[in-house]
Symmetry: C2
Subunit: 208 residues, 2 copies
Amino acid sequence: MTGLRAKQKADRNRRILQAATDLFREVGYDSARIEDIAERAEVSVGTFYNYYQNKGDILVAAVSMEVEEVLAAGKTIVDNPPDTVGEALTVLIGQYYDHSLVYLSKEMWRTAMAISIQQPESPFSQRYTELDGRLCDQVSTLIAKLQLRGGVMPGIDATGAGQMFFNNLNMMFIEFVKDEAMALDTLKEIVARQNRPLATLISGPKIQ
Amino acid sequence: MTGLRAKQKADRNRRILQAATDLFREVGYDSARIEDIAERAEVSVGTFYNYYQNKGDILVAAVSMEVEEVLAAGKTIVDNPPDTVGEALTVLIGQYYDHSLVYLSKEMWRTAMAISIQQPESPFSQRYTELDGRLCDQVSTLIAKLQLRGGVMPGIDATGAGQMFFNNLNMMFIEFVKDEAMALDTLKEIVARQNRPLATLISGPKIQ
DNA sequence: CAAAAAGATTGAATGAGTTCAATTTTTAAG
DNA sequence: CTTAAAAATTGAACTCATTCAATCTTTTTG
């Protein structure tokens, strides 16, 4: 049997996640009370806690869905990247950044990141961390691909360099969500400047 | 008059910060109750909130004191650095990392970082962010200094490169405190590998 | 189909952070 | 020194996130 129980469970899970995401967007994370989320999802408070360990978990779940979309979009670029390192990084990172604010507010990002740092053992935080790792791999893969094509000097550690690019863009994204006033374009400019030394040098003497 | 009031205020402030730091170290951040901190500092709960906006603020205050020590220790190195970029970075970053766990546990770091991301407007979070900025400047200053000495190619953007080194070491420090099992040496090795491409390339052809 | 077992739901109770109106202490004015 | 104003302190009350024993629902067994 498919089981009535399993169906109800999936259904409730969906309703709770949807209710929470909507409420977070409407009133912000802090003002959204578990009681309200539960009411909107037509379950009790206790049931909410049967599906998610705590309030933060459900936000991280929502963010994880978002990151998965970003990963998928990034794959398109990595599969067929521009020729130069600078250009390829600009496009990939621009893609990441542009996508980041489509569904989530800076406040939601701040909270999700804070949770993934503070409670690294919770399942959804681990999921978030894992997704971060896949994003990092994506950047390294891009560098390795360009290296095969000759856009990056042989002998360069593509993995190490890729991790550095990723850690830099990730850290700057944290700065970005911490500062409500910072615009996406400003973020991109700053990161482009930071990337330039390494991006230029690993390209080899041709571009100099 | 110096004012009795001002003196009492400074005194209470010191007592509260001390009581909180001690308790965090003894029982961990989460288990330390405001009531207990207040009792140990011989003030009421309400008074605690007169001095600190919330529980997190006082942890960030404690962490900030720690970062200031790290900054001071770093200055010694930047004032008189080793000759090669790789060596200089290894020493400076090693210094940062070694100092980080002397007074603070990984749990305390996690909480402090989470707060500084989540409530970027609170005064103590801003202080933490400012200290981070000064650490970043310190790395950039190191690169610029080596550049003047000829250890870094002219034409390289020392500020951009320094920021990249810093963002990388900072992001990896976050990974480090998220993972209770990771040892300091492992952290240092990973960061050394990530730094190598940029560190080698900006040194110029001599070292190749 | 009945009854027992397993799995889920429920919401009142708990506990900790935070607030705020009343009170006390310090400073300034007369 | 007295009194009014300003500044701080206080702790009981409040708000939520979270828990858990009682209850209900679904599945399995005989």
